[in-house]
Amino acid sequence: MKNLLIKDFRLAMHPTVFLFWLLSAMLLIPNYPYYVVLFYSSLSLFFVCLGGRENRDIEFSLMLPVRKRDAVRARICFAVISQAVQLIVAVPFAALRQAMSVGGNQVGMDANIAFFGFALLLFGIFNLQFFTSYYRAPEKVGRTFAASSVILFAVIAVFETLTHTLPFFRLRLDTPDPAFLPEKLAVLAIGLAAYVLLTFIACRISEKRFESLDI
């Protein structure tokens, strides 16, 4: 699987993966729905899979001495690394945003510790929906991503609505760090656990679906 992962970085990686990592800097925008940054990250994964279809990546990979499930694991592992980099790059910008004396984010959730918990949950949901659908019909990756985007924005809408309406979100989670640190750390831990679980399930289902697929 290690070689397939290297193959993904050397051949399959679309330039937007790198460029969209840099969009983590959007957390510096004083008032902005920061979850949109996560959409760009997901968009870059779509470009990788779309490019794979145009470059016959699946056919190329399966001619190599690998199992079909290895190809799935490597691609999801690539996504995990990309998403991790996206969030790691975002951390200093989130810290900088907090240090700016312009007040909290008026549009949506602050770029704080809880935000990263929700971001992980969002990525987990994306992985589950996108990859399980992609590996059922890789040639229909456009349709798959359209469905994933609808779900992604629906979840973002729910998160942002809760931020404005639910007192626990508004008064405790949507606050500058380190206020309400235990609650925010709990959200981060739950987000991380959900991400790991959802991505693991995504991997298992995708492997099964891809294994039964006629290429």
Binding site: N3, K7, R10, L62, M63, P65, D214, I215
Partner: protein, 280 residues
């Protein structure tokens, strides 16, 4: 020992069915896998590597079951489907660097030798290569990891006659070195030049799998007038109209017994008349 053995392979695709496909490829043998477009050649080749899941049947490479020994077997074979059409904008150097990392048996010196032999420039991309050069690049990749069996899907399609001839000579050289080659084609003249054996598939069924010479000697070609053809109707196989009258196949015993002048056949002639007869 056969390097590839397929037994009773079946696959249903809606209206198309691959039925009880069985044949064997021996070491150092060139096997031509022929049939019309849509006869089931590509489906069969993909089913060998489990890219298409057979409903039933057995596929053994080097005496081993494919599903149980997938990695080991893939290390010993090369599968080329339509030339190097993957990553057309990446340099060959990058594609090769990735490919070699998968093969513990990769022979860099052999790879360099093949690049020089095929006049391949690693600085080029597949998009900059002609169909023939793409195929040579695919062959170079397959042979550099010491593939003992090459499975090639329609390798000569889209090649000009000179490139085709060049490729067939490469096949013959490889076979002399002990490499087995299974290649599908609908260009039967390729087989006359290099195939030791042919396997003929028609509408998802194997019609025959035998030595090329014995295949060709099954029948004789006769050229008749319309009146003669009418008279000899029960003995004729796959009548076709030509400028000179009627051509058909007859068994050697019939031509001898009836004293009909006849010529030897090539694969193309046999297949065309068989298809016409529809009773192969």
């Amino acid at each position: 020992m056969s390097v590839l053995s397929i037994k009773d392979l079946c696959k249903s695709y809606g209206e198309f069915q691959l039925q009880d496909v069985s044949f064997e490829v021996q070491r150092g043998e060139i096997m031509g896998f022929i049939g019309r477009n849509g006869a089931g050649k590509t489906t069969t080749l993909k089913a060998l590597l489990n890219l298409v899941h057979p409903d039933s049947g057995e596929v053994r490479f080097f005496g081993m079951d494919f599903r149980e020994n997938e990695l080991g077997i893939k290390n010993r074979i090369g599968f080329v489907s339509g030339g190097a059409d993957f990553y057309p904008r990446k340099k060959l150097r990058s594609i090769s660097a990735v490919t070699k990392s998968f093969y513990p048996t990769w022979n860099e010196a052999e790879y360099r030798r093949l690049l020089a032999l095929f006049a391949l420039d690693e600085g080029k991309t597949p998009a900059q290569l002609s169909a023939g050069m793409k195929l040579k690049y695919s062959l170079a990749l397959a042979l550099s990891h010491g593939a003992e069996l090459l499975i090639l899907d329609e390798p000569t399609s889209g090649l000009d006659p000179v490139s085709r001839d060049e490729l067939l000579e490469i096949f013959l050289r490889l076979a002399r070195e002990g490499v087995s080659i299974l290649f599908s084609t609908h260009i039967t003249s390729d087989l006359d030049k290099c195939a030791d054996r042919i396997t003929y598939i028609r509408e998802g069924r194997i019609v025959c799998s035998e030595d090329t010479d014995s295949f060709k000697s099954r029948y004789r070609l006769v050229q008749l007038t319309e009146a003669e053809a009418k008279e000899l109707q029960p003995y004729l196989i796959g009548q076709g109209i030509t400028r000179g009258g009627i051509t058909a196949l007859m068994t050697p015993s019939d031509t001898e017994r009836l004293g009909i002048p006849s010529q030897s056949t090539d694969i193309d002639t046999v297949i065309t008349h068989w298809e016409k007869e529809g009773k192969a």
